[in-house]
């Protein structure tokens, strides 16, 4: 990847962060937990996206961000109040902005009409607030033409509210047609360059405004040995004689506002008809001659610097280096790391854990005493290894916040579509889970939230009839509980209509008529394949995907899903997920002399089959009778080809497992060794896919054990 592409990728990563910031801020404003900082942060997020997009020539994105920003600026300056309607519009605008960012990154066609509709609404929202300051600048937003790449010099007067603070001197906001001298001091920060901007380009634009005298301060440039080639050491003072307004001068720096220190001061114009104004002129003029003198002095200052360096090389340079290093250190509190590198590290730590447990097994085998120094040292090593493993896992762990935020958008969209008023309450956004788990949670959660809004909550009129507030509440919480993360999605709707669920289940052949079912068994029916309680196929949830798919994707993550519902009070779905996908809790079993691992999440119970319980079925198949139902018995050793004859069930252990579609099966193994946490090693990456095997692991004795793919074995038995 070339450097420009890499910078662009960083820009998109930063966009994601800015978008999250934007949404957090808007939601905080909505819940009235905000201060001026929040509004500033929101404004800044949009502004940064616009700035970066400008540098990469992403015109559509710049255009929309610009209008959005204009409206936000009016809010920031208190000219319009963020009422509920405006907030809703801003949240929708942030959704559009997110889409535009995504389309700019991944390509594809954006729905133009949606963009232009929101664009218009934003422009309209900015207008009623167009009180004196804004009316001086006619509604320029719609006609804003974004610069080709980086060219902030368009005359884009609606920025006047942010930048202008010189109206009084200019005389009531009249653009100065007469020539004026501005002193511009410009000191780029490294971020300016990192975002693909260049000081030279900006200086070129300043020069284009009029007659400029540029003085460059090179005194900060260090020796080569201390130079960060991508640092920022140069600063400039420009005396610009021009007939433009101060706002137009500032506009040059519009896209880099936060990435440099810039000050623009206008030298007061002395009116020829003006007689004498002693104090103010002397005061404001004072710094100017000094600055004017600075210009021609540059070559001397170079010499002075060199002379200084020559005189005390040893002293001068470390001091300069220290000065340079300090701010850089403060700025870097986070780093971006390629995910592959983290995964490689996790892999290596996994090896370390295996190696450590092999070593301790060898020590035990060698008959070394528990209290010997070797054994004690080994215990310390074990402790350390565990800490390293936890810390490395923590690198991959990320707060669930982004996904929760994405859900707030889903709620908004679905609520709009079905005409309900819904509030999403989230808790525990800082709860951390493995990145892969988070990524794979998006789809199931989206579906659950859609269901909650579409089916869970009653229609507004029904809510009022039931004595509830018109606005429904969907609650989403995350919490850590005993080494797993628990995510709950609940609504305060009518709860599950059990009579209706049962009726549908019978109609669709999911259950037989007349079967007695407990309330929770009825609730569980909605996870059955092909089950959908919606009587009409709505645009929202009726997409052929039922809760069975949700359940399957949660199970694929090593998680479980359960439901509880109270009539009239609502429904709660509870997801229990592992914190990571790199280790797994497994039951270690033996089959035909081989050691295998069965994922604990699939296991319901284990039992020893007794003679009368086992029945033959057809030529080979066997079933086991448990609590009134027959469950297929699967000999894992025979199925996987470890032996050619099926083992005697009476000498085996049956492990009851639940696979997709809630069907139970009994896996027959020779014996159970115990439960253990194992490090997952992908078989696909290292070898290839094997029937009935999900992955492999290395046990403490150094032997490889395969982890069973329970679903595949059960499905293979049926076909």
């Amino acid at each position: 990847m070339d450097t420009m592409a890499a910078i662009k990728q960083t820009f998109f990563q930063e966009c994601e962060e800015q978008l999250a910031e934007l949404e957090t801020g808007l939601l905080a404003i909505e819940s009235e937990e905000h201060d001026t900082d929040t509004i500033n942060a929101v404004f800044r997020a949009v502004h940064s996206i616009k700035g970066g997009a400008g540098a990469f020539g992403l015109e559509e994105l710049v255009r929309f961000a610009h209008t959005f920003e204009t409206t936000l600026d009016l809010v920031r300056s208190g000219q319009i109040q963020p009422d509920a309607g405006l907030l809703k519009l801003m949240l929708r605008s942030s959704d559009i902005l997110a889409d535009l960012v995504r389309f700019s990154r991944d390509g594809g066609e954006m729905d133009e009409s949606r963009v232009s509709q929101i664009h218009e609404e934003l422009t309209r929202a900015a207008q009623p607030g167009g009180t004196p300051a804004a009316s001086a600048a006619p509604a320029a937003a719609p006609s804003f033409t974004p610069p080709a790449a980086f060219d902030a010099g368009s005359d884009d007067d609606d920025f006047v509210p942010i930048t202008i603070n010189f109206d009084d001197i200019l005389g009531g906001g009249e653009p100065a047609v007469e020539e004026q001298v501005f002193v511009v001091s410009f000191r780029p920060k490294p971020e300016l360059y990192a975002k693909a901007n260049d000081a030279i380009k900006l200086l070129r634009e300043i020069r284009a405004l009029g007659d400029a005298d540029v003085a460059c301060d090179i005194s900060e440039v260090p020796l080569l040995t201390e130079l960060d080639p991508e640092g920022a050491y140069l600063s400039w003072t420009i005396r610009l004689g021009s007939d433009v307004t101060e706002a137009q001068v500032r506009e040059v720096f519009e896209f880099v506002e936060f990435d440099c220190d810039v000050s623009v001061t206008a030298e007061p114009k002395v009116d020829p008809n003006f007689e004498f104004v002693p104090a103010p002129v002397a005061e404001t003029r004072e710094p100017v001659p000094a600055l004017a003198d600075d210009g021609p002095l540059i070559p001397e200052s170079v010499l002075a610097k060199i002379a200084q360096v020559n005189a005390e090389p040893a002293k001068a340079s470390p001091a300069a280096a220290a000065n340079q290093a300090q701010p850089a250190q403060q700025a870097q509190t986070t780093i971006r790391v390629d995910l592959d590198r983290v995964d490689r590290l996790i892999d290596l730590v996994g090896e370390l854990v295996i190696n450590q447990s092999m070593l301790s097994q060898r020590v035990t085998e060698a008959g070394i005493a528990r209290l010997s120094e070797v054994a004690v040292g080994l215990d310390d090593l074990e402790q350390l290894t565990r800490e390293i493993q936890d810390s490395v896992m923590a690198i991959r762990a990320q707060p669930v916040r982004p996904i929760f935020q994405r859900m707030s958008r889903v709620v908004r969209e679905v609520a709009d579509m079905v005409g309900k008023s819904v509030r999403l309450v989230t808790e525990g956004e800082n709860c951390e889970v493995d990145k892969t788990v988070i990524e794979r949670l998006a789809d199931p959660l989206t579906h659950m939230i859609r269901n909650a809004v579409d089916h869970g909550l009653e229609k507004p009129e029904d809510r009022i009839k039931a004595g509830k507030p018109e606005q429904g509440v969907v609650r989403m919480t995350a919490a850590h509980r005993s080494g797993r993360v628990i995510i709950e999605v609940s609504d305060d709707g009518a709860g599950i209509n059990r009579a209706r669920v049962k009726e549908i289940a019978i109609k669709r052949g999911v259950i037989e008529p007349g079967v007695p079912l407990s309330d929770s068994e009825i609730d569980d029916l909605i996870f059955a394949p092909g089950f959908s309680t919606a009587s009409t196929v709505s645009d929202v949830s009726g997409r052929g995907v039922g809760m069975d798919v949700v359940k399957r994707s949660i199970q694929a993550l090593g998680g479980r899903i359960s439901i509880s519902s109270k009539p009239g009070q609502g429904t709660t779905f509870t997801l229990s997920l592992p914190l990571t996908l790199a280790v797994l809790d497994g039951m270690v079993v033996t089959v035909a002399g081989q050691t295998l691992v069965v994922p604990l999440t699939a296991i319901v119970e284990t039992l020893q089959p007794k003679g009368p319980e086992v029945h033959g079925l057809g030529e080979r198949a066997k079933v086991i009778a448990i609590r009134g139902s027959f469950i297929p018995l699967i000999d894992v050793g025979y199925k996987l080809g470890y032996r050619y004859e099926e083992a005697d069930p009476l000498n085996s252990v049956a492990i009851m497992v639940e696979s997709e579609n809630r069907a139970q099966s009994a896996l027959m193994v020779d014996g159970i060794i115990g439960q253990q946490q194992v490090v997952i090693k992908s078989l696909e990456t290292n070898y290839g896919q094997v029937f009935g095997v999900a992955a492999a692991t290395i046990l403490g004795d150094g032997r490889v054990a395969v982890i069973l793919d329970v679903d595949a074995i059960v499905a293979g038995n049926r076909s």
Partner: protein
């Protein structure tokens, strides 16, 4: 003897942010010798490469070696002019 210690470095046509790091390393490698910079090919120059060049001049001055910017292209002169600098800022003579 002095002849053998001198080296010529040609600047690449594009001196943007991506060129700054390699340029700095190249100068560091050439340290301790008199250098003559062939700047005739430069088509575009950014502020960070100017920083590297200024830093090199300061370093060569400190070392008491010669640093010469030869045949600056029109584009380079224009870029330097915009930044308020001139080719003379990039010459160190310590003979």
């Amino acid at each position: 003897m002095k002849q053998a210690m001198s080296t010529t470095l040609a600047l690449p046509p594009v001196l943007d942010i991506t060129a700054a790091g390699p340029l700095a390393s190249e100068f560091l490698r050439a340290r301790g010798k008199d250098v003559s910079i062939d700047a005739s090919k430069v088509e575009r120059v950014g502020a960070q490469c100017i920083q590297v060049l200024l830093s090199a001049v300061a370093t060569w001055t400190l070392d008491g070696m010669e640093f010469d910017l030869a045949n600056p292209s029109a584009a380079l002169v224009e870029g330097l002019d915009i930044a308020g600098l001139e080719p003379a800022n990039f010459i160190a003579r310590n003979a």
